[in-house]
Symmetry: C2
Subunit: 208 residues, 2 copies
DNA sequence: TTTACATTGTGATAACAAACACATAAATTA
DNA sequence: TAATTTATGTGTTTGTTATCACAATGTAAA
């Protein structure tokens, strides 16, 4: 291992390794080779080893990796040892699906607040979280800091909501609305955009 | 313009250009420079010009691009002139959100079938589509071919459903379940995976 | 018509990422 | 204990993508 700039693509693969390892731990496996992992993930073993080597020498030559140890290492690299507070804006289909997903997985991502502008849902309780009015987002002084905001509101409202979330101090945003957000560059933004994905998908499907 | 391999990253940006252009057309704009588009999208103007130049000379030097013409060109490149038939598997939160989104946008993506295994929803009608039992997916001889399948079922069922969809002849799959699909390589797969995205997001948020 | 200016298209270069070849080291076998 | 096998870690090479510099070409003003 050598100090070196770590490719973004490497970081993006780590969560895949992490989840796969997690499942194998649950299945009671002990040791794992890069070749075996590569068969599960469809990622070449040399790629996996190179990715891991940016962070340390986790394996044993001739043997492979200690599954639990490697899992813990990746957990630590990704900052998944601590838990992260999440606020959800827009508690309709997508918003509920996410509350469902994160609550069920108790994955270290805690939903600490949920907001909606629809009076019919404000005040109701989902998974132990009381849905607040969006104005509360603007004004509330949260007990716990919110680390990440997830936007699942109507596309026309996404930008305003994003700005509110940034004002509240979130460091990252996941945006399900097909709306480009113009945020300070220190805020990490993940755009989950079905229509765009379909767009490039049909390019490739059509060219065969 | 010259015959040349087109970067995948270029293809992935085209839908962003496409949507932005669409909005500007609606706003009644006529002409657009790469610099202006770059301000909307946060993509460098040279990048935009290079991307477009793989497909032809669409602009006029000193002037810019004819908005409508460029829009039509990109539509044609991405194969969005024709419409695409989509089947949805799993009509719960995510499935409904997608039916909602695609139905509302009438975007050239037509939902022609929807499947679920839950007897309580099978037979009910959403947006004019009757939810069918998953067994129907295995047996039905569809009137219209299904081009793309969207998977929004429970993670443990995703693989089986994916195989059914492939048997039915889909050329591409969008998978919302956090499950890796092992499909023939000629099937294009888009993995929409919130947990993985959160994984790499917190890496970067944590390292500041 | 000439000059100044705006904007595109592209070859060349730089930055980034993946793949490869092989040195290294542990385990197993003879 | 030597030879063989297995599997990691990494410097080098190859491939891909972004950026840059600038020639080409159009518009508008002098
Ligand atoms: N990325 C994807 O895969 C994908 C798929 C489907 C839909 N979407 C998008 O996700 C978003 C949510 O879709 P949906 O079907 O779950 O929701 P929806 O469109 O049914 O409703 C949006 C919800 O947000 C609330 N809302 C609207 N404005 C708000 C505001 N300013 N503050 C707080 N809450 C507000 C509404 O009251 C409603 O509950 C939409 O933008 C949609 O286009 C994305
Ligand atoms: N990518 C993301 O952003 C994201 C976010 C939230 C949830 N998810 C995932 O999306 C999927 C759907 O989540 P949800 O909350 O909409 O649904 P859900 O988990 O509430 O229910 C799944 C639906 O699929 C149906 N189903 C289950 N097995 C099926 C089968 N074999 N054939 C047909 N239908 C079947 C069920 O009857 C139910 O209607 C889950 O896998 C979830 O983990 C993804």
């Amino acid at each position: 291992m050598k100090e070196q700039k770590i490719p973004k693509e490497t970081i993006k693969r780590l969560p895949l390794y992490y989840r796969c390892l997690n499942r194998l731990v649950v299945l009671g496996k002990d040791t794992l080779s890069s070749t075996e992992l590569s068969e599960y993930l469809g990622i070449k073993p040399t790629q996996i080893r190179k990715d891991l080597s940016y962070f340390g020498d986790f394996g044993t030559r001739g043997v492979g990796y200690d599954l639990r140890k490697l899992f813990k290492e990746i957990e630590s690299i990704l900052n998944l040892e601590r838990s992260w507070n999440i606020a959800i804006a827009g508690v309709s289909n997508i918003g509920c699906a996410i509350m469902d997903l994160l609550d069920f997985n108790h994955s270290g991502f805690n939903i600490v607040a949920a907001f909606d502008s629809d009076n019919r849902v404000v005040g109701s309780n989902i998974y132990g979280i009381t849905i607040q009015d969006l104005d509360n987002l603007k004004e509330c002084t949260a007990d716990e800091p919110i680390d990440i905001g997830i936007i699942a509101v109507d596309p026309v409202d996404a930008r305003e909501v994003a700005n509110c979330l940034v004002d509240k101090g979130v460091k990252g945003i996941v945006n399900f609305a097909p709306t480009l957000l113009n945020l300070p560059k220190e805020i990490e933004v993940v755009q989950m955009d079905l229509t765009s994905e379909l767009g490039w998908l049909v390019f490739y499907i059509g060219h065969r």
